[in-house]
Symmetry: C2
Subunit: 268 residues, 2 copies
C-alpha cells in the first residue's frame, strides 16, 4: 500500500463521521505536512456516500498543529443542488477543532475550455537533476522534486532574493497515479516564500489554503503518475502574514489546479 | 446612513446568531451582488463579542442565490488560540443553507513587510473618465469604476479577447471610509472573466471566493474613502468552472487584499 493511501485512509464511524490517524511518513517539523491534512479533509467528502460529483474548490483552515495520533473527521452536506454540493468539514482531536474546511463538489459540463495561465517554458524533468532532500523532515521523502529555479537558498545568509518565485517538477515518491486528494496535497509542497525571499529560516505556519481543481478524474487518470510542474509566488508580506499563489500543470501543459494560501510568519 | 451600512446591518438574535436582510440597493440580476453577501457573512464575525483580532482570511461559498428578504447568520468560533481564531459561518433562508463561510481572525504583529506584487503603473483615477454604468442592475450604482483596460466589451460579438485582464480604479458610491467588510465586497466587483474573454454574456455564478486581507484597520483608515486599484485575471476555464485571481491596492500603492474565486459558467 502506498504511504499516501495509508495516510488518507478513514475508518467509518457512522453517518458522516470517520476516524483517521496522522502518518509518521508525512510528519513535518511540528505536526504533519499541511498537504496531507488537506488530503485527509478532502477524503472525508470523497468517501461520503451522498457525494455529488467531483471537487471544484477546497479551503482548509489550519486551526492548530495536529498531535501524532488519531483524529475524528466529520463531513456534512450543507446544501445539495442539482449539479453542485457544498460541504462543511471539521477534524477534531481531544474534542477540539484542529481543522475546519469547506469543499464544493460539482458535476462538470463539457464546453469551451482554455488555460489562460500557460505553463512556462522550462526544461523537461528528465533533463534536470533530482533536488537533494534535507534529512530529518519525513514528508520531504514522500515527494520527488526537481527545481528549475527558486530552490531553497543554498546559504541562509539573510540576503534579499527580491523575487520569491519557485518553479519545480514534482510528484509523489514512490510514484502514484494522481487523484484529487493527492493533487490537494501537492498544492502545499512549495516551501514558504518568506524563506526564499529572505534566505532566513523564520517560524512559519500555513493558516488557510484554497485549491481550485481544474481537472476532472479523467484528466487526472490521463496524467497518471507523471510529473507536475509547480510554480509559486508570494504577493504580499505584512503584519505577520504573507500569501502565495501557485499553479500546477501536467507534462502536457494542462492546468490541473490553482492554489493560494496565507501563512503566518515571524520576521523582524 | 450609507447603503452599505444598511445592507450589512445584523440584528442580534442571541449568542452567535443574527438576523440580516437583503438590500434592494445591492440587487444583482439573480439574487444579491455576491460581494455584499460576503460582507454580511464577515460582519457576523466582526460583530461577535468573542472576536479576537482582525480578519486575515475569508472564504465564502455561495450555495444558492439568496431570495429577497431576511436571512439568519450564525458564527461559531471553532477554535481560539493565543493570537488566531477560526470561525465557521452560515447564512440560512427557510432553514436551508444559502452561504457557508470560514474566517480567520488574528492579532497582527509588526516586523518585516513587503509588497512583492507591486501596483502596476497606471494613470491616476482623476485623469480617467467615469465608466458608464449599464442600467437595470442595482448594485453597479453602489460603486464608481474607472477602467484603465479590460473594460466590459463594447460589442458582444463573440470575439476572443485572448487576455482576460482588467485594471480599474474603484470605490464605494457614495464614497465611504474603507473597512474590512467593504474591502471584502470590493473584492467581488470584477465582472466575470469569461465575459471579457469571449465577448459573450453567458450564464455565470460565483461558487466560492477567498479574500486574504493584508491591511489592518489602521491602514484601512489611512486609505479612507480613496480609490482602490483593482486588477483581475483568469487562470483556467474548464468543465464549466473558471477561476480568477485579483489584487487591490490603495492610491499609495499598498497592497490591501488579494482574492481568488471560482465561477460556474455555461459556454459552448
Amino acid at each position: 500500500m502506498h504511504p499516501f493511501d495509508e495516510a488518507v485512509a478513514l475508518a467509518p464511524q457512522g453517518e458522516g463521521r470517520w476516524l483517521g490517524r496522522t502518518h509518521p511518513g508525512y510528519a513535518n517539523m511540528v505536526g504533519p505536512f499541511g498537504g496531507i491534512t488537506a488530503a485527509q479533509a478532502l477524503n472525508a467528502v470523497m468517501q461520503h456516500p451522498q457525494r455529488l460529483g467531483e471537487p471544484v474548490a477546497l479551503t482548509v483552515n489550519y486551526c492548530a498543529a495536529l498531535a501524532d495520533g488519531p483524529f475524528t473527521a466529520t463531513a456534512r452536506a450543507a446544501r445539495t443542488n442539482r449539479s453542485t454540493q457544498h460541504w462543511v468539514v471539521e477534524l477534531e482531536q481531544q474534542g477540539q477543532a484542529v481543522v475546519t474546511a469547506t469543499v464544493v463538489t460539482a458535476l462538470r459540463r463539457e464546453g469551451w475550455q482554455h488555460d489562460e495561465h500557460r505553463m512556462p517554458e522550462v526544461p523537461a524533468a528528465a533533463d534536470l537533476p533530482p533536488t537533494k532532500r534535507p534529512a530529518g523532515v519525513a514528508w520531504l521523502s514522500r515527494y520527488e522534486m526537481r527545481f528549475i529555479d527558486g530552490a531553497p537558498p543554498a546559504h541562509w545568509d539573510g540576503s534579499d532574493h527580491h523575487d520569491s518565485t519557485s518553479r519545480l517538477w514534482l510528484r509523489d515518491a514512490p510514484a502514484r497515479p494522481l487523484d484529487h486528494a493527492s493533487l490537494a496535497a501537492l498544492a502545499d509542497v512549495f516551501f514558504p516564500r518568506i524563506w526564499r525571499r529572505r534566505a532566513t529560516l523564520v517560524p512559519i505556519g500555513t493558516v488557510s489554503m484554497t485549491v481550485y481543481f481544474h481537472a476532472d478524474a479523467e484528466r487526472l487518470a490521463a496524467t497518471g503518475a507523471g510529473w507536475l510542474l509547480g510554480q509559486a509566488k508570494a504577493q504580499g508580506f505584512r503584519g505577520g502574514f504573507f500569501d502565495q499563489t501557485a499553479q500546477l500543470w501536467n507534462e502536457r501543459g494542462d492546468l490541473l489546479a490553482t492554489t493560494h494560501q496565507v501563512v503566518y510568519y515571524k520576521a523582524d
